[in-house]
């Protein structure tokens, strides 16, 4: 009997022990039920208008500090505006101004003028003469700080700091790394067509700090930036023979990359900066070669009676895109870095040339000639998604900004019968095909090459 009772209590206990978790489960189900019926609204359309941003003048107590603050704000605003993704709000519209900006912003004041983001900063010249520049980026609607940094630098570097801050803001707001703290090297041209002077020139991406690197005594062509060091490769006709040179921007020295048996063209660095890939013509046949900069060993990658030229590495260094007429017309091909597995990727009408792999890896930019017109276009490395971004009488020489979102190229107008027109200028354009702008240069310009972000 006792055992029977024991069994009964055991059963009761087990029932009791079951009741609690069951009740809990029921409660959970009941609680989650309303959540399941939660209203869901799909929002599939927005706008791609530039983001309104308020860039205030950076504050400084001394008048010199205040002036630098104003200048930095102006360079920063111009960078953001030029990207086409931001719309800096004019200072006249600001409600919160002056020294009140030294503290946390009054977000209500910025919401009224519909600023979605707001930048404030402060400049201080220290006893050592160095500048201390700090900035904060605020999300006006969420009332939160999105970024904030301070930089120490010599006073003449204020412009670079403005570009660096623009890069930080760009990256924070778009997720993509910026491209403002970069330089563009290009060929500056002057003089009559039959006696053209071509000089190597360099400037910041916004056209500031322009200077010439060569004196124009010798013809220079196809400059290319090293992805890792402040070095440029280019082709120069010193002694009437085209050779590939390397120019070091820090030291100002130039040296011959190598004495090749044939004519060398279109040199371009590998992404790690240790190799240079180029085309070389021997006995009337142009092939693609790669040279190890450490050992100076030269390897041939293609072997075909057709003209193979304009090689460019993929960002992972595993593939190379190049230009060849092996199929009858000039088309774009890709191959493994050792020259195997050659595949044609361009199949549209017209001729394709100068393929350049994006630093982001998702596109190959090219020049296309069709119906007497030139185009700058992009396509995926498998040949899909071909798009034309810019067109003109002559548009050529695409080069990527280091973030792979913006391209630069040069555009030459048609010269009329009297020899007027025909100016050649550098342009930049977004990969969406919008926001084409000119980079102002003192002379005619061609063959731009965009630097990586300055280390």
């Amino acid at each position: 009997m006792t055992t029977f009772c024991g069994i009964l209590t055991g059963v009761r206990l087990s029932i009791r022990s079951l009741v609690f978790p069951l009740a809990m489960a029921a409660m959970i189900i009941l609680r989650t039920h309303p959540a399941a019926a939660e209203l869901v609204i799909d929002i599939t359309r927005g706008n791609i208008d530039p983001l309104p941003i308020a860039v205030t003048s950076f504050l400084g107590e001394a008048s010199r500090e205040a002036q630098i603050g104003k200048d930095i704000s102006a360079v920063l605003s111009a960078d953001l505006e030029r990207s086409g993704l931001f719309r800096p709000i004019p200072h006249k519209a600001f409600i919160q101004t002056g020294t009140s900006l030294a503290v946390r912003p009054r977000f209500g004041d910025w919401r009224i003028i519909n600023a979605q983001a707001m930048v404030q900063g402060r400049i201080e010249i220290q006893d050592s003469g160095k500048l201390r520049i700090e900035f904060r980026l605020w999300d006006v609607f969420a009332e939160q700080q999105m970024a904030g940094q301070a930089y120490f630098t010599v006073a003449k570097n204020w412009r670079r700091v403005a570009h660096i801050i623009a890069d930080v803001i760009y990256k924070r707001m778009t997720g993509e790394s910026g491209y403002f703290d970069t330089r563009v090297v290009y060929i500056a041209e002057s003089g009559p067509a039959n006696k053209r002077i071509k000089r190597l020139a360099i400037m910041d991406q916004d056209g500031a700090n322009h200077r010439f690197l060569t004196d124009g005594q010798y013809l220079v062509l196809t400059p290319r930036f090293s992805p890792t060091a402040q070095e440029i490769t280019y082709l120069s006709y010193i002694g009437k023979e085209p050779r590939v040179y390397i120019f070091n921007l820090d030291t100002g020295r130039q040296e011959i990359l190598g004495d090749f048996p044939g004519m060398t063209y279109a040199p371009r660095f590998s992404p790690d900066g240790n190799k240079v890939v180029m085309s070389m013509a021997k006995g009337g046949n142009s092939e693609i070669y790669v040279m190890n900069l450490g050992t100076r060993d030269l390897d041939r990658l293609t072997n075909n009676p057709a003209i193979d030229t304009s090689p460019s590495y993929s960002p992972d260094s595993k593939r190379i895109t190049f230009n060849s007429d092996r199929g009858g017309t000039q088309q774009i091909y890709v191959m493994d870095a050792d020259g195997d597995d050659i595949q044609r990727i361009s199949f549209g009408k017209g001729r394709y040339a100068t393929p350049v792999w994006s630093p982001r890896g998702d596109y190959i930019a090219f020049t296309k000639m069709k119906g007497g017109e030139f185009f700058i276009g992009i396509m995926h490395p498998d040949g899909s998604g071909e798009r034309q971004l810019a067109r003109g009488f002559l548009v050529e020489g695409p080069t990527w900004a280091p973030n792979g979102r913006v391209l630069s190229f040069f555009k030459q107008g048609k010269r009329d019968k009297k020899g007027r027109g025909g100016e050649s200028r550098l342009h930049v354009i977004d990969i969406t095909g919008h926001n084409e702008r000119e980079i102002v240069t003192p002379l005619d310009a061609s063959d731009p090459a965009w630097s990586p972000l300055i280390p």
Partner: protein, 290 residues
């Protein structure tokens, strides 16, 4: 004999193989006919159940055109203003009364009392006006008439709106406006669409970002009864921390929700229980041809 038999056997085998391997092809083709056609089932209300405050601002705009025609009456009104002050006589009072209102943004009211009496309601206003002057205190009578006029002011604009249109439509509209909202009724596609359309102005889509097609952002929103946002939270916090592109997209969506241009959300207040908590799904796919 053996040869023909072997031919026959071979042919049979071939026929069998054709039959055998032919069938799967036929089967493969079948799914083509079954190609799924995505159908979204949405609730479309039989009657537009739009809340009254929304239609009001729209009809107000069309009314101004007719006003100028009737405006000539108002100009004479300003002069009467001094009159009541100088000599507050009982009879002129009701007429000047509408005048204090125009400064209170109520331009429509002044013309209303006049047109109203003309078509139908002529007897009523005079009666009311007549009663008031009998009261001893002129000021109290003035105040009362002001109150009454204010009360009238609301229904009157509707009458005015109706006049320019045909008479049948406004009646239907009035009926629909008077019909009580069914709280249990689900949100209709037009109500949801109105909200989605509202965000067109506020949502700055991260254009051109890598993999923009896979940046679906969900935001959990708690709203106040007036349609303003009480709380908004990005749901996928884990991806927020690990993926900078997603963070950018998520923050842009959150900015859209918090954008004052999109506040308050145009949702029917009567269905507040339905939308006091909701999930907004920001999907940029359609904008990038995905």
């Amino acid at each position: 004999m053996i040869r023909s038999a072997s031919y026959s056997a071979l042919l049979h085998v071939v026929a069998f193989l054709v039959a055998w391997f032919g069938l799967p092809e036929l089967r493969r083709n079948l799914p083509m006919l079954d190609a799924p056609i995505p159908v979204e089932i949405v609730t479309v209300a039989e009657m537009t159940n739009a809340p009254p405050p929304e239609p009001e601002p729209e009809p107000e705009k069309p009314t101004p055109p007719p006003e100028p025609e009737k405006l000539p009456p108002p100009p004479p009104e300003p002069p009467p203003m001094p009159e009541p002050e100088l000599a507050p006589e009982p009879e002129p009072e009701p007429e000047p009364m509408p005048e204090p209102e125009p400064p209170k943004k109520a331009v429509p009211p002044p013309p209303k009392p006049k047109p109203a009496p003309k078509p139908s309601a002529k007897p009523k206003p005079p009666k009311k006006k007549a009663k008031k002057p009998h009261e001893p205190d002129l000021m109290t009578s003035v105040l009362k008439t002001v109150e009454k006029l204010k009360q009238k002011a609301r229904p009157e604009p509707e009458k005015e709106e109706e006049k320019p249109k045909k008479y049948k439509i406004p009646e239907k509209l009035r009926q629909s406006a008077q019909r009580p909202f069914d709280e249990s009724a689900p949100m209709t596609i037009s109500e949801l669409d109105a909200v989605a359309r509202q965000f067109l102005k506020c949502w700055n889509v991260p254009a051109g970002a890598r993999d923009a097609k896979n940046l679906l952002v969900e935001i959990s929103v708690r709203a106040n009864p007036d349609g303003t946002i009480r709380q908004a939270q990005i749901l996928n916090q884990g991806r927020m921390r690990s993926d900078p592109f997603y963070r950018t997209a998520a923050e842009s969506a959150l900015r859209a929700v918090l954008n004052p241009i999109c506040s308050p959300l145009k949702l029917p207040p009567e269905k507040y229980e339905r939308w006091k908590t909701m999930r907004l799904k920001f999907d940029p796919r359609a904008m990038f041809g995905g």
